[in-house]
């Protein structure tokens, strides 16, 4: 081991098995350390994003990949004339518009419940969170049985309260709502955990002060809780929205997009065109539109929530 005294008066540096300075070693290691992740991100994320744009301007079918040609905006023109696209867009927006407020509302309510100092709070946290760790495929299969018209547990329970059997997944009017209900049950625990972390940071004194002023439960919620967790709420709304746009597994497993396209979503359409019809060009155009919808929505939300 040798000692080198460098320019600075008090800077004494030791080094081992190397002719490089410490700073130089750091830079070299920095490049080596970031290289694997960057190569992988480039190959499996950046390149595919670029390819999605390129393919969306091409007539390209996986069955005859050698015959791909640039066709300009043809795929986009076709998309905006495709009635199924507007159905899929409408279904996706409907799902998002209902799931986001309902799921976040349920999650906030549950978070407030399990944030109280009662003995069963931690048990409640585990119960509300359990559906989150259950995979969506498992959940979708399980609920298909629960929603069964003649033998399902849900219709039996409704019968008990004097309500007649509902068609649920078999009806174009109820299928999407049934998926929405199940999706909220599955994921609310996730947002609950984030809200809970936010609630823990609200100083107790604020509630005490509100109580002295004679505030009731609703006033405390409205004037203390909500303003204190504002930034958490904003974040939860954005991630829930992005998650909602990606709806695919539920319709794939439970309804196959039906009945009469009532649960067909943008991602379902993208999958169908890409991997059943093998139409890379058209499917890529759907992917680009989907990407832009997600991007613009989250940017608009971010702007709105900042105000």
């Amino acid at each position: 081991m040798e000692t080198i005294v460098r320019k600075g008066e008090n800077q004494v540096k030791y080094k081992r098995n190397s002719h490089m300075t410490y700073e130089r070693q750091q830079k070299v290691l920095g490049v080596l350390f970031s290289l694997p992740a960057l190569v992988l991100l480039f190959t499996f994320l950046i390149l595919p994003v670029a390819l999605a744009f390129v393919y969306s301007f091409m007539n390209y079918n996986m069955l005859n990949p050698d015959e791909k040609v640039f066709t300009g905006l043809d795929n986009y023109v076709r998309l905006f004339k495709d009635a199924i696209f507007f159905t899929a867009l409408k279904n996706t927006l409907y799902f998002t518009a209902l799931v986001v407020p309902l799921q976040c509302g349920v999650a906030l309510f549950l978070a407030i419940l399990v944030n109280k100092k009662v003995k069963v709070a931690s048990l409640g946290r585990v119960f509300f969170f359990s559906p989150v760790v259950t995979s969506m495929v498992v959940v979708a299969i399980l609920w298909t049985f629960l929603y069964n018209v003649d033998n399902g547990l849900i219709n039996h329970t409704l019968n008990f309260f004097g309500i007649k059997n509902q068609p649920f997944l078999l009806s174009p009017n109820q299928a999407m709502n049934s998926i929405i209900f199940m999706s909220i049950w599955q994921a609310a625990g996730f947002q609950m955990m984030i809200f809970l972390a936010g609630l823990k940071d609200v100083p107790e004194e604020l509630y005490e002060a509100a109580e002295i002023d004679g505030a009731n439960v609703w006033q405390k919620f409205r004037n203390v809780t909500l303003p204190s967790i504002q930034h958490v709420t904003g974040f939860v709304l954005i991630i829930t929205t992005i998650q909602a746009f990606r709806l695919f597994i539920q319709p794939y497993v439970m309804t196959n997009g039906g009945p009469s396209d009532s649960t067909k979503t943008l991602v379902f359409m993208l999958y169908e065109n890409g991997f059943q019809f093998r139409d890379v060009g058209y499917s890529s155009a759907i992917a680009v539109v989907f990407f832009l919808v997600v991007l613009i929505t989250s940017m608009v939300l971010k702007k709105l929530l900042k105000q």
Partner: protein, 281 residues
């Protein structure tokens, strides 16, 4: 009513609400587990509260899906454990060193790299599905294990998670190692890694739970049964013409158990991962 009894009444009300809602939330999973140990004929016969009581217990459903030749559930589970285990192993290494480099080993251009990684975080996986398939196909990986592993090793989210942690890592510890004569590599391996166990645990657990549930991608690249994962396996049991409900319930339960165990044992790290990404992100 005095203030005190009012408080006590409130607590009782909250306890009851948690218990009732808790039962409603857990009941579908409870039904799944109990139906899996019932004989086939009783699963849709027991309704109401009877649905949650196993009057006749049997483990036939489990032995059938685990030990009969035509289902091979062990095989699906093995594929899932192997592929997800590989993603976790290589992912924690690759993402942690990248994050460390971006925070502590600044090199020319490293700030731009960070900006790009944060920007990539907003790309929904579904929008790169088709081109990714074509890239993976070019590598000749369709129906090969690398297709299920390699594209998911590097993760913008995990790099960000590690970055948040390393930014708060005490500079003094690293400087002390430097003064003791350690190289940057030695500092990372001997000082930083042993003192960063929580973030490694968090990243590993979040990665495991995320990829254990993967469905869309394996559906596309794993059309050959030999490499199919458990999520695809249960989907096949479900779409079988001769559907066996008890066996499906057993399969659903077995698919869920690994994640439930991880959640129960590592709850703290798991929740930390969710909330730290959320509240600070």
């Amino acid at each position: 009513m005095t203030n005190r009894t009012k408080k006590r009444m409130g607590k009782i009300g909250i306890t009851i609400s948690i218990l009732v809602l808790g039962f409603l939330f857990i009941s579908p999973l409870l039904w799944m587990i109990i139906a899996s140990i019932k004989p086939e004929t009783l699963i849709f016969k027991d309704m109401g509260f009877e649905a949650f009581i196993p009057k006749q217990m049997t483990f036939d459903n489990y032995s059938k899906i685990l030990f009969s030749d035509n289902i091979n559930f062990f095989h699906y589970m093995g594929n899932s454990l192997f592929t997800v285990g590989m993603i976790v192993l290589f992912g924690t290494i690759v993402n942690s060193i990248c994050a460390y480099a971006l925070v502590k080993l600044k090199f020319p251009g490293s700030d731009y790299v960070l900006l790009i990684i944060i920007a990539l975080y907003v790309v929904p996986f579904e929008s790169v599905l088709i081109p990714l398939y074509i890239v993976v196909n070019k590598f000749g990986w369709i129906n090969q294990y690398p297709a299920l592993i390699v594209p998911f090793i590097a993760s913008a989210f995990n790099i960000f998670l590690f970055r948040q942690f390393f930014m708060g890592f005490p500079k003094e510890l690293e400087e002390a190692a430097q003064i003791d004569g350690a190289s940057p590599w030695q500092t990372f391996i001997k000082i930083v890694v042993p003192n960063s166990k929580p973030v490694f645990a968090t990243a590993a657990i979040l990665t495991f739970v995320t990829h254990w549930s993967d469905f869309m991608w394996p559906l596309i690249v794993a059309t050959d049964q030999s490499i199919q994962t458990v999520q695809i396996g249960i989907q096949y049991l479900f779409t079988d013409n001769n559907i066996q409900y008890g066996q499906i319930m057993a399969a659903l339960t077995l698919t869920t158990i690994p994640v439930i165990l991880i959640f129960l044992f590592f709850q703290r790290y798991y929740v930390q991962g969710i909330t730290s990404s959320g509240v600070k992100g």
